[in-house]
Amino acid sequence: MSGFACVGRKVHKIDAFDKVTGRAVYGHDLRIPGMLHGRILRSAHAHARIAEIDARPALGVPGVHAVITAADAKTGNIGFLQDHPVLKGDRVRSFRDEVAAVAASSEEAAEEACSRIIVKYEPLPAVFDPFEAMAPGAPQLHDSAPANIIKFGYDFNEGDADKALESSAFTAEGTFRTHYVTHCCMETCFALAVFGRGGSLTFHSSTQIPYLMQNTLSRVTGVPAWKIRIRQPVIGGAFGSKLDVYPYEIIAILLAQRTGRPVKITYTREEEFRCTPTRQPMVIRMSAGCDREGKLTARKAEAVLDNGAYTSWGITTPHIMLTGISSLYKVPNVSFKAFSVYTNNAYASAFRGYGNPQGTFANEQLIDELALKAGIDPVEFRLRNANTPGSVTPQRFRITTCGLSECIRKAAERIGFGGPKAANEGVGIACMFHVGGGGRVYKSDGCGVIAKLDDFGRLSLMTGATEIGTGSDTAMAMIGAECLGLPLDAVSVINDDTDVGPWDVGIHASRMTFIGGNAVIMACEDIKDQLREHAAPMIGSDPKNLEFRDSKIIDCMNPDRNIEISRVVRAVHFREKGRMIVGKGFYDPPNEFQGKDFRGNVSSTYAFAAHAVRVRVDPSTGKIAVLKFVAAHDVGRAINPLGLEGQVHGAIAQGLGFALSEQLVYDKGRLLNDNFTDYKMLLARDMPAEIEIHFIETDDPEGPFGAKGVSEAGIIPIPAAVANAVADAVGIRIRTLPMTPENVHSALKAAGKAT
């Protein structure tokens, strides 16, 4: 073992007990005296002009305090390209469009009032496919985008991919399609806006970006940012969905402003399905080549993204898709293009893995196809091309620690690659590359921690680092406990208030344990320096000989000289010219913000993983049974192995759902399955009977106690690994997700392989 007291121990998450016993206070639980309930009326058409809105009938409903439409909402636009009006005035472009909103004393009254608002629409022709949207004569959605093509794209070239492909011994290519899935957070969206003294706004939110949100709310509503305080209750899941600011949040503020009362909007589950953003769907055309020895020569990819009607983070998902395409394995020549097209569909946002699961679905299937053509075992093929420490990728990512080869070997060995298989059984492997040491996707990648030690030896970590269920609070508390030699119970993480916590850029890019953990170490080092200075004269030791363990400060040269940490704090407080014991840490990793050339070391270390699956395909129904799943991850160091296992288990459930069963089904822009009956998340009995999770500990020099970020990693290789296993089982390549029984059966029929 590592010789750590706390780090590396399997511990229950510090918030687990409250969550499983119903004690945790989520946004849904918040009630404030005088609070009104807000509700939103949405478009009845995929695309239409709004001729007239008559909101007066809604005001006649008992309990209604306010009705607002675009005419009342003098706000700026929101979204990545600020193309998204909060309330739509003259035109709606999708079924989820917000047309009017009501604040009432009960949810029922608000709902009733919404149903009484009369909106006259003049329907317009609509378009639901990005390729049709680019065609001449297609309905035009935004003036800024002729042919609906958004002037924000990706173009990256390293070497000469075309030439390299031409001269490659073997090439493989294909068109891959990924679909609409959604986050399915256990807690549906909520927003609670409360105005107070001097027009100050307290906004209760499950956001992943409390400090960036202050800025956006201010810009859009005109409330000065310094008057906006974000409070975060326990957050019931996010997975990237809460990295943007959405109309319902602004609407809650507008209704609170209008009524002078706190206003809360809570989504129903149906609204959650219909109105929250999705994972970015993509059509990816990709080719790859290798030489006779199976060394990769080039990769070329072009992706077209259905942007939906407005622009959230979906349009930027190619940024992260590119990282996998350029940097998973050593490949000298890379060409990558991606652009987004407006349609009257749903818009996409961030979702665990960003664009990487989509890109890896294509990338890793082509690896198998190349291996087959080159006559090389797919495991051996991957090992020949695996990233190695000290290498630099085409995007100038500097690979430091890298356990990819060990991950591949472990996954292949444990799934039984090359071993016996029953009829219609197959094994598949896929790897992944992702940021693991923060990700400088904003100019800042920083996180602050203020650590306070009290009279009784309790350590409070005040931070802007948000916990969305990843276990980052627990990891940060464990790191704090480790640094000061305190029991884990004596550490609390306070991160629910922008008035208290120092700056953090947000919880994204698997960064929280890595970045926040390093900030905790820095804050604790600050505290330790102070304690050493105070404790040394108390026990007659040299400050530099003092160590922290078992809640004590101990002289390592003479362990009999020791003192309780809490006693030192009390002594410092209760004296003339007293002091307090507060430490500060601000960690901003040594990584780089990329320029327009998409080059620069965006993360200070990188995460690697290999997943291997064993499947059985039923050729008469198309049903895929995942019999065994092996996940091997380079995690740097497992701070809390139990939490990590939970992360990977969750990723397997979510990733297999993405691969096999989850799908938002739209008919001309209208969602047909806004419920868990027909949106099929996989359940306990659908999970593989055997799941093995292996951690490869590469002890990253930049990571807190060697750890890397791993939150997203688990989902990234899954659809590709399953598709590779299906190809091994029944000899068909599935290039379109999801691999539902019906889709697989239809592919088997087309290949004459259905029975």
């Binding site: 129904t621 089904v665 047909l672 027909d678 359940l683 009995r685 539902t740 029984p741 019906e742």
Partner: protein, 284 residues
Amino acid sequence: MEKFEYLKAQSLREAVDALARNRGKAAVLAGGTDAIPAMRRGKSSWKLLVDVKGIPSLGGIKAGSRAVSIGSLTTLAELASNPVIIEKLPVLSATALNMASPQVRNRGTVGGNLCNAAPSADLAPPLIVLGAKVKIVARGGERTIPIEEFFEGPGITAISGGRGILASVIIPLPKPGTKISFKTHTPRMAMDLSLVSVAAAVRRDKGRIAEARVALGACAPVPLRCRDAEEALAGTSGEASDAERAVEALCAAARPIGDVRASAGYRRDMAKEMARRALAEVLS
């Protein structure tokens, strides 16, 4: 959710009267696992819910020497765990155990599953092949009809519109030599609705098939008893070719729709596959 009146019926007569008086505007409330979500989602807007949970005569499983009677208030969980059902009618306990989730099985009732009349209702095909009858209590008195005549359309039964209450299901005990199979096709292993289901019951007498019953779920507006398939089997020795003729007859009867869950074509293919599996099991 719209406002509604709630009546806790003290007797079967009171419930039947209340439903008849509010024809088309009232619904029975038993487990509430279908009625309440439908009202919440605005899919139905009953003015009156008649709660029948307090009527003792609607509950309980009674075993006789020739038949078992299952009260309509019997929960799916009770059906799944009842020793008599497990011993005498294991196809029903297994089917119930595979339906919904433990929480829903604790609330949802046998009567609710049948009266909701979803074409995909999983209890219907096995009950049809078991030769079950349903006892209906109406203002004019009691009557008993074969279960396949109970279903009149999606969501419509012989008692829709306040025409009575489903009191119980009466199932004759299968005669010796009877084999029963029920195959469902669901994308998930649990908490899923059947895309297609096929039930088959076959009784052999001296090698020949003396009696055959076949039923198809989720492939027509109602759970379908398929007499053509039964005739294809009756009197034969149950060879593979006989089974195949029955499968063809069943496929000819299937008129599935395409919807968010599956295309009509896939449902047809799966009807054939589930029919093959069910018949292979009962003819083995």
